[in-house]
Symmetry: C2
Subunit: 189 residues, 2 copies
DNA sequence: GATCGACTTGGGCAACTGTCCAAATAGTAC
DNA sequence: GTACTATTTGGACAGTTGCCCAAGTCGATC
């Protein structure tokens, strides 16, 4: 092999990314420090700036990796449903697994917020979102969506999901089941 | 008068609250420091801890004051509309004034996020939200909402609004007008 | 053996943080 | 004048921050 140290380096880099994902959820985007992420990854503080130009760069890379995987998985699951109603049911079931205060939800909201202050993050997160909306829209169309604007409905759907997560974080009694009616009505079911 | 200094004190306190509201939007909840907020308010750093036990207490008080006023105004405007359709139109028009990256929107999202780590903030912000949802639900009912669960619809509506703000922050091309269709359908119009 | 490259270490640096507090200020009451 | 209260000042304190870097480790190659 080329260099064994290069392989170890890749592994270290990945551990830093994983640690960053976990820590953004726990202490917030701005609460992740060089030493904290290094300790969590089990490496010396200096390693962080060897693998990444700055702490922000590490957080951007880690966050985008996470949301990219999340959206891909979400779109793939939707694609596996033969009817829109089935998809909505699956979606609400899936949504119930995210309390709004779980690590994944917190990371997503942190990224929305950080993207207003980190231009590169905003651009790339937007790309992921635009792609996702398009995939949902074509899924709707292929399943016989009867409304005029499938992309509009997909956009509304994606925004609603994040809004519900946001409100669920605040309100443990948030009635997710009660959302099924309005959601189905919105999609013409 | 009792004490002129007490009156000056109240004014200073208010300037600190105003400065905190502005700064949370600009630099984020975690980015507001003692000296930064003092400088913005035009006072010495020590004043902050004279009027508030901690910087967090200042931020909580400032944020809750802002969202309380915002939700009150929003509910009052809705109440002034005779029909649900009118209310939705007004809402979308109002929403277009919030880009998602404007100070008010950013403050709201910052508060959602901070509330996951500041218990007192979560409890009181939730109270404001629950009250707001109830006001919207009774507004819907009084205007002849035909669905089964007005509170569910109000909850979905409030969550959707915040979700749209979140997504609009990321995507300047977010088509608000295209949301009118799905929204009206959701409310049975 | 020696040499090379990639990676890792741990400490140094200036700048910043929240909180505290002795001292100063100023308006009110006697 | 003195006494009292409320507010304000600016510096002190220990702790943390991002980033940097000389020195070190370690496996691969000659």
């Amino acid at each position: 092999m080329a260099h064994a140290s290069a392989q170890r380096g890749k592994a270290t880099r990945q551990r830093l990314l994983d640690a960053a994902v976990a820590l953004v959820s726990e202490v917030g985007w701005g609460g992740v420090s060089t030493r904290l992420v290094a300790e969590r990854a089990g490496v010396a503080p200096g390693v962080v700036h060897y693998h990444f130009p700055s702490v922000t760069d590490l957080l951007v890379a880690a966050g985008l990796g996470f949301t990219g995987d999340l959206l891909d998985g979400f779109a793939a699951e939707l694609a596996a449903r033969a009817e829109i109603g089935e998809g909505v049911d699956w979606m609400l079931g899936e949504l119930s697994r995210y309390s709004g205060t779980d690590p994944a939800s917190l990371l997503v909201v942190e990224m929305f917020l950080a993207s207003t202050r980190v231009p590169e993050l905003r651009v790339r997160l937007r790309e992921q979102l635009v792609t996702f909306r398009a995939r949902v829209a074509s899924w709707l169309t292929e399943r016989g969506y009867r409304g005029e604007d499938a992309l509009g409905a997909a956009t509304m759907l994606a925004a609603s999901v994040d809004g519900m997560l946001l409100h669920r974080a605040l309100d443990p009694d948030f009635d997710l089941a009660a959302m099924a009616g309005p959601l189905r009505t919105m999609l013409g079911l």
